[in-house]
């Protein structure tokens, strides 16, 4: 099932963050479908400086959680595929296959 996610970077740290409905999480698994409300939430959150450079993306709802439609956002969600030790799943040697 297709869905819309709101993502951005933390203003102070630059970390990738995902809108959870009540706040921001580093983990895409916590992201919720923002439906038509992404732009409005982004405007408010950017104004409050809780996020930087926020934008809405397409994703698919899967049993493992939301999967961004575009590879760029999947890499953002995981981390660099060439340094799995630095990703959010450093213990999973197969983490990169989720991206491809």
């Amino acid at each position: 099932m297709s869905m819309k996610l709101l993502t951005g970077n933390d203003l102070r740290t630059g970390e990738v963050t995902w809108w959870t409905g009540t706040g921001w999480s580093r983990f895409v698994e916590n992201a919720v479908d923002v439906d038509e409300h992404g732009e409005a939430i982004a405007t408010e959150e950017i104004g409050a400086r809780r996020v930087n450079a926020a934008y809405v993306i397409d994703a698919v709802d899967t049993p493992e959680g939301p999967r961004p439609a575009h590879i760029k956002d999947r890499i953002r969600a995981l981390g660099p595929t060439v340094r799995l030790d630095l990703t959010l799943k450093p213990a999973d040697p197969d983490a990169g296959s989720w991206v491809i």
């Binding site: 203003l11 740290t13 950017i46 340094r83 630095l86």
Partner: protein, 543 residues
């Protein structure tokens, strides 16, 4: 090498505080992101895929061990234990926090370093020959001129909101190791018939989505007028470049649109208008700068023989060690391209080790190359074996300089928010495919990979170039042949339809096979390509 005086130090220190204030105003909400972005970019701070990225300037690629150690320290303290050496001879960190950026700049300033104008629409870090001051084939050290340009272009009030970025390179050798004709301004130090120093001035080269090899705009510019002439070119460009389309705002487009002759006429006319301002840096100041670049105290009578009895060492010497101007000395290239590794990356420990080795073996000096390797410029031949042993023990002795596994690659989609495809995994697969004796059989082959059309990986200038594109949401790779960034500069041509990740590696292999089958005595891959043309390669790749 150059040392700051109180003026240089005061300017860099003030920049740290200025940026600290700007970042604080951004965090406090006094600046919007649109307003802050050009300000942070002027200090090398990007917002990338995973975090902020900080690009640190290494002017003309030269640094000492104290500075190199600081780069390692910052990698460990503020980043995630590594840094990435770039094609502009800089270093970038991938995991920076905005709230710590000013502290990093302060640490850099404590060792006479900065991140000034490493990004944004400004005059970027001036690049040069990594063998400057050590090469056997140069007419003079180009770095004093590069330092003169560094100072004169730092916070230039007229040229800080330019149409686009602006890159200058300076060389002084016959062999062009700095790709000067692919720069906005490329300068080659020459002597005229009367023996006076001057520059060949090339303007309007560049890669990106519309690549051009720069035409020669002035065959001989008296050296003392270097800066005013650059100012004239910058002013013509700043005034008349397009401002309506970011992809058409580089100076190369203006040179192309006006034509070489008309552009030259305008620059010459502007130069005549500028000369009375006396903005040229006087030669007494040049002499002050040049005094920092005198030769280190080379040991007279240093032994010239190398004991080649260890075959692995001999292999490395043949591939990575280059002739030095001083008898008994050699230039050492430290490859940052281990087979299967990430091109240009170095861990904090490796950075610190290279600093130690420079202090011990190379008069405290290191260079960063545009091919993303490190150079120890002044090593006694008698020390080569001990140096090599230490490098070997630390994964830094790959003997592959200028071979097919010595790949230039941009960070690509693994790190970069502009990228369309990943570059690093392609580099890794290629280096694994060829990283045995095969690469030695193939010989010199410069392979360059960009993850998007912006061409940070110099794919246009590769003997073999690879360009990552987005094809309906999947990564796709185009193959280019025949580019060169050297004195025989040329732009690569696309072979045809693109490939997937494995397909591109196979296609490169087929291209190298055509070369091996058809090469004549003494020909490099590039020479054979130029002789036989694209067709045989196309046939082998797509046939």
């Amino acid at each position: 090498m150059y040392k700051y005086d109180k003026y240089d130090q005061a300017i860099v220190d003030a920049r740290v505080e200025e940026f600290r204030d700007q970042a604080a105003r951004r965090i406090a909400g006094a600046l919007t992101e649109d307003q802050f972005k050009p300000l942070r970019l002027k200090n090398g701070l990007y917002l990338q895929l995973h975090a902020y990225m900080l690009r640190v300037a290494i002017p003309y690629g030269t640094l000492d061990s104290r500075q190199m150690r600081m780069l390692g320290h910052i990698a460990r303290k503020y980043d995630r234990g590594y840094g990435h050496f770039t094609t502009r001879q800089n270093l970038q960190y991938n995991w920076i926090k905005l709230e710590e950026a000013a502290d990093i700049l302060a640490d850099l300033a404590s060792v006479e370093m900065h991140a000034i104008q490493t990004s944004g629409e400004s005059i970027r870090n001036v690049s040069s020959d990594q063998y400057a001051g050590a090469a056997a084939d140069e007419i003079a050290d180009p770095r004093p001129w590069a330092e003169l340009i560094r100072q004169a272009t730092t916070f230039h009030p007229e040229f800080s909101y330019l149409p686009r970025k602006f890159k200058i390179a300076v060389t002084a050798a016959e062999e062009d190791r700095a790709a000067i004709r692919l720069h906005d301004i490329g300068l080659k130090l020459v002597r005229n018939g009367a023996g006076e120093l001057g520059f060949e001035v090339y303007i309007g080269g560049g890669m990106g989505r519309t690549p051009f090899v720069a035409p020669l705009i002035r065959p001989f510019l008296p050296a003392e007028h270097l800066f005013s002439y650059c100012e004239a070119a910058l002013r013509v460009w700043n005034r008349w470049a397009r401002r309506d389309n970011i992809h058409k705002q580089r100076i190369k487009i203006l040179v192309h649109d006006l034509g070489q002759e008309e552009f030259t006429r305008q620059v010459e006319e502007e130069w005549q208008a500028i000369l009375p301002n006396q903005s040229d840096v006087p030669m007494v100041e040049f002499d002050r700068i040049a005094a920092y670049f005198v030769d280190p105290p080379f040991e007279a009578g240093a032994p010239d023989e190398i004991d080649r009895s260890d075959p692995d060492f001999a292999l490395w010497v043949d591939q990575n060690v280059v002739a030095h101007k001083a008898p008994g000395y050699a230039i050492v290239n430290i490859s940052l391209k281990p087979i299967g590794g990430i091109p240009g990356d170095a861990s904090a420990e490796q950075i610190e080790l290279m600093a130690d080795l420079a202090e011990r073996y190379s008069f405290d000096e290191l260079r960063v190359t545009h091919a993303q390797n490190i150079v120890l410029p002044h090593v006694r031949k008698a020390d080569l074996y001990a140096l090599w042993q230490t490098l070997s023990e630390n994964g830094l002795a790959e003997a592959n300089l200028d071979l097919i596994s010595d790949i230039i690659a941009c960070p690509g989609l693994d790190y970069c928010s502009l990228a369309n495809a990943r570059s690093i995994p392609i580099a890794q697969k290629l280096s694994q495919r060829f990283g045995d004796d095969r690469q030695r059989e193939i010989g010199e082959l410069k392979l360059k990979i960009s993850g998007c059309i912006n061409a940070c990986g110099h794919h246009h200038a590769g003997h073999i170039g690879i360009l990552g594109v987005d094809r309906k949401g999947t990564e796709n790779y185009q193959l280019l042949l025949g580019g060169s960034g050297a004195e025989d500069a040329s732009l690569g041509k696309i072979t045809g339809p693109g490939f997937d990740e494995d397909g591109i590696v196979d296609a490169v292999e087929k291209a190298t096979q055509v070369y091996l089958d058809r090469r004549e005595e003494g020909e490099r891959f590039l020479d054979t390509y130029r002789r036989v043309g694209m067709e045989p390669f196309k046939e082998a790749i797509y046939g």
